[in-house]
């Protein structure tokens, strides 16, 4: 099966369930079974051995028993978000059905999807998305454009003229220390 046909989505929880308190999303569990056929044997065993304990532990879940003649047995779970899930349990034994019921009880009710990413966040960036003015110098707000200062080329190293002027400055300083005018060079 190609990946395009499987529904895909992102990791999500039902209204951040469990961040504060936990609300069981399973609201109603309907057990459909036949009283006589062999395929429903496991489900009938489950009703006899485990159902009472399940209802005592989960008072928030409504359990319906629906005997239907010569129909394959199934578990129908209905969730807070309105979705409903059916699990056919023909020829399953009562322990397997216990596991299925536990799965339905702890399920969020959301559709099982292929995860496009293994993580999800509502705030992908604390800084916020990039805009053309991100990390711009705030001087731009008060500068009148066109500005000579912002346009001028910024050299990485001094030019030959600047080097020459600096050298002359040093020579003049040296001459001044010596007493001036001794060398006679018109530097």
């Amino acid at each position: 099966m190609s990946h395009a046909t499987i529904p895909s989505g992102f990791v999500k929880s039902a209204l951040q369930n469990g961040a504060g308190r936990y609300v069981c999303q399973l609201q109603r569990l309907t057990l459909v079974f036949c009283k006589s056929s062999g395929g429903s044997r496991g489900l009938r065993d489950f009703v006899e051995k485990h159902l009472l304990e399940f209802t005592q532990k989960n008072p928030g879940v409504v359990v319906y028993l629906q005997p239907r003649r010569h129909r394959p047995p199934k578990l129908v779970a209905e969730y807070l978000n309105g979705r409903r899930e059916e699990i056919p349990v023909a020829t399953h034994n009562d322990e397997t059905i216990c596991q299925w019921v536990n799965h339905l009880r702890t399920h969020s009710g959301n559709e099982t999807v292929r995860l496009r990413k293994t993580w999800h966040t509502d705030t992908p960036s604390i800084q916020g998305p990039w805009t053309p003015f991100t990390n711009k110098d705030t001087r731009l707000n008060v500068t009148q454009l066109p500005s000579e200062e912002l346009s001028r080329f910024q050299p990485t190293e001094p030019s030959a003229t600047e080097k020459l002027l600096r050298l002359a400055e040093q020579l003049r300083a040296k001459d001044a220390v010596k007493g001036g005018g001794e060398t006679g060079t018109p530097v």
Binding site: W130, P132, L140, L145, P146, S151, A168, L171, V187
Partner: protein, 185 residues
Amino acid sequence: MAQHRVQQWATFARMWWLYDARWQCPFQSAPVIIRHLQGLHKPIYHPLSDVGDHVVVINTEHIAMEGDLWRNWRHFHHTGYPGGFSATRVWKVHEADPTKVLHKQIYSTVKGNLLRRPIMARLHLYPDDNVPEDILKNITGQIRQLREVPKRLDEYTQDERDAFPRLFEWPADYVPNPGKKTVKS
């Protein structure tokens, strides 16, 4: 959500850049201007998204060319008819239209695909610094020049000229050798 919609507008907002072409080389300026026209300078750049900025180039009539290129560089044209080829010296082209040299250089540097026309439409060239008010009010940034604008001798004050270091003084009656073209008196 409404706030995400506004964030989208802010992220994809077009900037208007100003570039002063005075004393700048058109061959070196073109790639820098094209980078801004295509939006390649943005971290959100993607070839399929339209994120290019506008660039306003001023003082195009004061561009500079190296060496003898004003005389030797030629712009070619062919009308499509037999014998329709013509080549014009670039100084002549520049004299006829001071924005044409930079325009042709940028046009030929942009990759020749369907995006070239929309990219060129975002380029605004002006021969001097007289830019219309409605263009000027959009400008939000400035591209730095690539070369230093040289200072002419008459732009220095007399004090600055006198203070410039010299190894020796020329004699008062010294005449510099003008080379081969000596004028015989």
